[in-house]
């Protein structure tokens, strides 16, 4: 099954009516801490069903229960109990340390997996996810079916999950706290969340306790009060949250990734694993993508191929181009280069069941006449070459150069990725050379000047007679200089010493650019005013 979506620009809160008349957008997933689905101890907890297991975390020097499984609930433990108390209640307890970083990673992995349902997936840390399924549900047989697919798939992998679909994200999240698997019709939020306890709102614990003490046990109770009363006691933030939960307006969710301009994808009933099929799929997807972009005269500047493995792992590979790509063969070739050059090759495992190709950034293509103006053709060829090389070895390794206004040799040039700055570089204004003079700057410049040993100089400010560089002694036959380059004192790191550069030729004819770091008399002195020896460096090699 192949789904092709034109640029979708769904907003959260935008009502999309599906076939059965039920409308609802955010699907909220929560991985409850109660139950064996706590991500941090997932694998180990599933193995030991009989003995209660808990995950503990340190809070203000006390070790408290952070998450517990079903058996622990049966044993009468609850989250927040000190570990010592828990052991007293239930001595045969298996204890694991909480690992928030691993929890977050697992949540991100699940979010990656959820990308197969909708491109708009938002994290709701620490244990929740929002999926904006506007216009996506019908691809999976309706909202209820989609909900079942998500819950079943995650359950099969050992996560306890509760999920709900509703018109607003907060209402959906509130529902997941107490009732999983519900699809709430548009406008029925208030009715659905009314009977739930106030703790389901997920407000500040102080607010929840306060509400309970005030005798407001359920969300319905709170909603029956006038909003200004609630605001006066619990703050306007809580009133807003309550309003969202009741379906009055909605908090925006922030999706993890920007929505691509174009998406094409291919689903496989039988997972595929061979390179040939993957390559064939990519090229047919490229054709579909180009056809979709072509209708609006667009070309892709950034492409992303996502490979969804059957076991839930998702691998995304991105290529960028210097100019909008409009030919499927180009896309095909760029991805082939990229896949060839991967350090850790694409691992199909038990196979991919979904391959998606998305154009993350597109541009309007300016058609140019190609027949007569050969330079247009040449430029196209060169940027295509740069794209290919960049796809394989990385965009930062292919550079063009721009001059900078600086006297400091190592700061006088700016190297920029050729993909994006080719035009700027070909129009750059480099200083003109003085006609008839030999070069003043070396051909090769060391990124950091290399220290040399200079035994003595005839005069303190003068050039050396010989120097040792990389363990070889060079006797100086010719000298030009000094050329004094002062550091940029107006910059942050401008306190460096003034350099005196000399162009020297040794007795073999090799030419070096060497400098003395610091001026005698003024700069090279210690605190007592005694003169210090100067450091010498080789900074470049002349031809």
């Amino acid at each position: 099954m192949a789904g092709l979506s034109p640029p979708l620009r769904g907003r959260v809160g935008e009502r999309g009516t599906t076939n059965d008349g039920v409308s609802g957008l955010p699907l909220s997933l929560t991985l409850p801490r109660k139950g064996e689905g706590n991500p941090s101890a997932d694998a180990s907890l599933t193995n030991s069903k009989e003995l209660p297991s808990v995950v503990v975390a340190k809070d203000h020097n006390a070790i408290l229960l952070h998450a517990i499984d079903e058996a622990a609930v049966r044993a009468g433990l609850s989250i927040g109990l000190p570990l010592a108390n828990a052991r007293a209640i239930c001595p045969e307890l298996t204890v694991y340390d909480a690992d928030p970083a691993a929890d977050l990673k697992t949540l991100n992995d699940i979010a990656d997996w959820c990308d197969r349902f909708t491109p708009l997936v938002a994290l709701d840390p620490p244990y929740g996810l929002f999926l904006d399924i506007t216009g996506c549900a019908h691809l999976f047989g309706g909202e209820r079916a989609l909900l079942q697919i998500v819950i079943n798939a995650l359950n099969r992998r050992g996560f306890a999950v509760s999920a709900a679909i509703s018109g607003t994200s907060i209402a959906a999240r509130t529902l997941t706290r107490h009732a999983s698997g519900q699809v709430i019709a548009d406008g029925a939020e208030a009715q659905a969340v009314g009977p739930l306890p106030v703790s389901a709102l997920g407000a500040d614990p102080a607010v929840t306790t306060g509400l309970r003490r005030a005798g407001l046990k359920t969300i319905g109770d709170v909603a029956s009060r006038a909003p200004h009363e609630i605001s006066a006691r619990f703050g306007s933030a809580f009133t807003t949250l309550l309003g969202y939960a009741l379906g009055q307006g909605d908090a925006p969710i922030s999706p993890r990734k920007p929505l691509p301009d174009y998406i094409v994808e291919k689903r496989f009933p039988e997972p595929i694993a061979t390179d040939t099929v993957i390559a064939l799929t990519l090229s047919s997807l490229a054709k579909m993508l180009v056809a979709a972009m072509d209708k609006q005269g667009k070309g892709a500047r950034q492409l992303e191929a996502s490979f969804f493995r059957t076991d839930g792992a998702v691998r995304t590979i991105m290529v960028e181009t210097g100019r909008p790509v409009t030919r499927p063969e180009m896309i095909d070739r760029l991805f082939r280069e990229r896949l060839d050059a991967l350090n850790d090759p694409l691992d199909p495992g038990f196979g991919f069941d979904l391959i998606r190709l998305a154009a993350g950034r597109t541009e309007i293509v300016v058609q140019q006449q190609r027949d007569l103006d050969t330079s247009v053709h040449d430029n196209d060829e060169i940027s295509a070459l740069i794209d290919r090389i960049a796809a394989r070895i990385g965009g930062k390794r292919v550079v063009v150069h721009l001059p900078l206004e600086s006297h400091i040799p190592e700061r006088a040039t700016l190297a920029l990725p050729a993909q994006h700055h080719l035009a700027a570089a070909s129009a750059a204004a480099w200083p003109d050379r003085v006609a008839g003079e030999p070069p003043l700057r070396p051909l090769r410049l060391f990124e950091r000047p290399e220290p040399i040993k200079v035994p003595f100089a005839s005069v303190p400010d003068g050039p050396p007679h010989q120097f040792t560089w990389r363990r070889a002694l060079h006797a100086v036959a010719r000298v030009e200089g000094p050329e004094r380059i002062a550091m940029e004192w107006w910059k942050q790191d401008g306190a460096a010493l003034t350099r005196d550069y000399f162009r020297v030729e040794d007795t073999e004819g090799q030419r070096f650019w060497i400098f003395r770091d610091g001026l005698y008399e003024s700069e090279l002195r210690d605190e007592q005013g005694r003169p210090l020896p100067a450091n010498w460096y080789v900074h470049g090699l002349f031809a």
Binding site: N379, I382, I393, R433, R444, L541
Partner: protein
């Protein structure tokens, strides 16, 4: 080996050479370096659309870089130039300085540099770039002895260069020459400035270039000077003329010399 077999082998080699060599008419015109006697030895200049190797004598990276930059400048004329080099070469010999290249007579606007992590990816990138006929030349800079740069690799580069018409220039620093399919191979070291006192200004860049291999002609050794303004090589300006008088007119000798391959 007896005479008949030698003869057969020679004729077979000849026919292979005829098959392999593009016909003279199809050959693009040679590009003169500007140095008269070197151009004469090269029968008019460097062959474009072929592989040329430049080895730095010892670790003299500066002089070899200058020489190959000169060759690239001559060959690519006003077309873009791709310079591929290893990360390690950058660290060992310094990065290319654009201001230096500009003063040397090359236009930094036409230069795209690629830093490859290792020899394999450098070779592959160079082969890719050679396939793009919009370029003037591709310089591949490899530091040290590279196992990957064998006869097969150089044959690939040569074929790519022939197919597209882009010249491949291979710069090797701290490496020993090994058999390859290069059209010419040069060993370059720095040459002295013309005699003068220590404080007098040095002159134009000067190389002692030794042509150690020339597939279709003899070899030689020259002092060359690079004219930054004209962007060409020339005879060293301030050196006195060679001590031995040049032959007045001895065409037969030149022919005889051209017939021999002094080295391969």
């Amino acid at each position: 080996m007896n005479g008949a077999r030698t003869g057969t082998l020679a004729s077979l080699r000849g026919s292979i050479a005829r098959i392999e060599a593009p016909s003279e008419a199809a050959m693009p015109s040679r590009l003169a370096l500007g140095h008269t006697s070197a151009d004469a030895m090269l029968r008019g200049g460097l062959v474009p659309a072929a592989l040329h190797e430049v080895f730095a004598a010892g670790h003299q990276g500066g002089a070899a870089t200058g020489f190959i930059a000169g060759l690239a400048g001559r060959i690519s004329a006003r077309k873009p130039l791709v310079w591929v080099r290893q990360d390690f070469s950058d660290r060992e010999n310094g990065a290319l300085s654009m201001h230096g290249l500009a003063e040397f007579g090359l236009d930094p606007r036409l230069l795209v540099t690629v830093r490859a992590a290792d020899v394999d990816s450098a070779l592959r990138t160079a082969a890719d770039a050679l396939a793009c006929d919009a370029l003037g030349a591709v310089v591949l800079e490899i530091w040290g002895d590279a196992r990957q740069l064998d006869l097969v690799a150089s044959r690939k580069l040569t074929l790519a260069a022939q197919a597209s018409g882009v010249t491949a220039l291979l710069l090797r620093i701290a490496a020993t020459p090994i058999p390859s399919t290069a059209e010419t191979r040069w060993i370059v070291r720095a040459a002295h400035s013309p005699p003068g006192n220590a404080a007098s200004a040095w002159g134009a860049p000067r190389f002692e270039a030794e042509l150690v291999r020339n597939r279709h002609g003899p070899v030689g050794r020259w002092i060359m000077e690079w004219k930054c303004d004209e962007c060409q090589f020339s005879e060293p300006s301030a050196y006195p003329q060679p001590v031995a008088a040049a032959p007045a007119h001895r065409p037969h000798q030149a022919q005889a010399r051209a017939g021999h391959r002094l080295a391969s």
